[in-house]
Amino acid sequence: MVAITVFGSSVALGLPIAVAFASHAQSRAAVAACEAVARQPEAAGHVWRFLMLTLVLIESLVIYALVAFFVLQGLLARMVVH
């Protein structure tokens, strides 16, 4: 029972931790992009593409956490059944 509780709470907490740090990183990228556009509005197109690429690469790390979450959720369900 203790093992299930510990495993279950760590499964539940893993994704939110990843999301918290990734959203912090994404907000910093967005802040930098906004400052760059405010300083040089003519570079908005280039900044937009780099911002998108950065956000996507940060987001993909969260997606790995999501995949791991699905895998661990399956393990948890099997653990509960046994």
């Binding site: 593409r49 997606i63 790995y64 995949v67 099997r78 509960v80 059944v81």
Partner: protein, 269 residues
């Protein structure tokens, strides 16, 4: 605890039943039952093919129609986009990127029509799209670089020049192979997660509106025609349109970036 069913709450996802559910029921007994998402993605493909064929048939050099103007604008925008990501060779790969963009855009947005669903909120569709995109990236790399250049991509060439770093080569091969697998996973899961999550939010907000209607009906006796008096999902619909466009853009951008990553080797040599 008897079973996993007791542990799982009822699903929050919207039901996957559309107006085309009868096809699934009709084809139950055949060897190849057709689910709703598959049929809707076929509808999108059919519509795109018919549109492209009709636009090509009605092409004119002077006094083109509005449809022709839209198509020309789209083709030109995609070519500029591809050239800006991949480089001077980008216009060769513009058809691939543009097809992915417009197909995924329509897959995302068709779920907003009543009686339809977004096929890209089903993981099989997005995994298939990601596998197709990454496979075409590798075929393009093989064609452009040749077999030797393609294999040298997996071995980082600067490492080979020094005896002190040459031992790292097996590690970099493993890392490159793992990153190719991770590309497929992240491309498919990003599209699936965004569209599926947005669908769930839409569905739950619509249910919230229905619950509010029920509350006020019990309070002051609202008649039945006011069932949709509280369309809480409308702001989320706008967000869904935005996210559908952004995800289609991101998918085609990443496909272009992956092609560009392979072709950079050629320019460096």
């Amino acid at each position: 605890m008897k079973g996993a069913e007791a542990f799982h709450p009822p699903s929050v996802a919207p039901p996957e039943e559309t107006w085309f559910h009868f096809i699934w029921l009709l084809t139950q007994r055949t060897r190849f039952p057709i689910p709703d998402w598959l049929f809707i993605s076929w509808l999108v493909i059919f519509g795109l093919v018919v549109w492209a064929w009709w636009t090509k048939r009605t092409l004119r050099q002077l006094e083109g129609s509005v449809n022709q103007t839209i198509a020309e604008w789209f083709v030109e925008a995609i070519e500029n986009f591809a050239v800006s990501i991949i480089g001077p060779k980008g216009h060769i790969y513009a058809p691939l990127i543009g097809t992915l963009f417009i197909y995924i855009l329509l897959l995302n947005l068709i779920g907003l029509l009543p009686g339809f669903m977004s096929p890209s909120s089903h993981p099989y569709v997005t995994i298939g799209l990601a596998v197709a995109a990454i496979t075409s990236v590798h075929i393009i790399a093989l064609r452009e670089l040749g077999l030797k250049g393609y294999l040298m991509h997996y071995v980082d060439k600067p490492l080979l020049s020094n005896i002190l770093t040459a031992w790292m080569v097996p590690i970099t091969i493993c890392i490159h192979i793992a990153s190719e697998a991770a590309k497929v996973i992240s491309l498919s899961m990003r599209l699936f997660g965004n569209i599926f999550g947005e669908d769930v939010v839409l569905y739950q907000f619509a249910l919230l509106g229905l619950a509010a209607y029920g509350f006020f009906r019990n309070l002051i006796g609202l008649p039945t025609p006011f069932q949709m008096l509280f369309p809480f999902q409308l702001p989320v619909v706008l967000l869904h349109i935005l996210i559908g466009i952004v995800q289609a853009y991101v998918f085609s951008l990443l496909t272009g970036v992956y092609i560009g990553m392979f072709l950079q080797h050629e320019e460096a040599e």
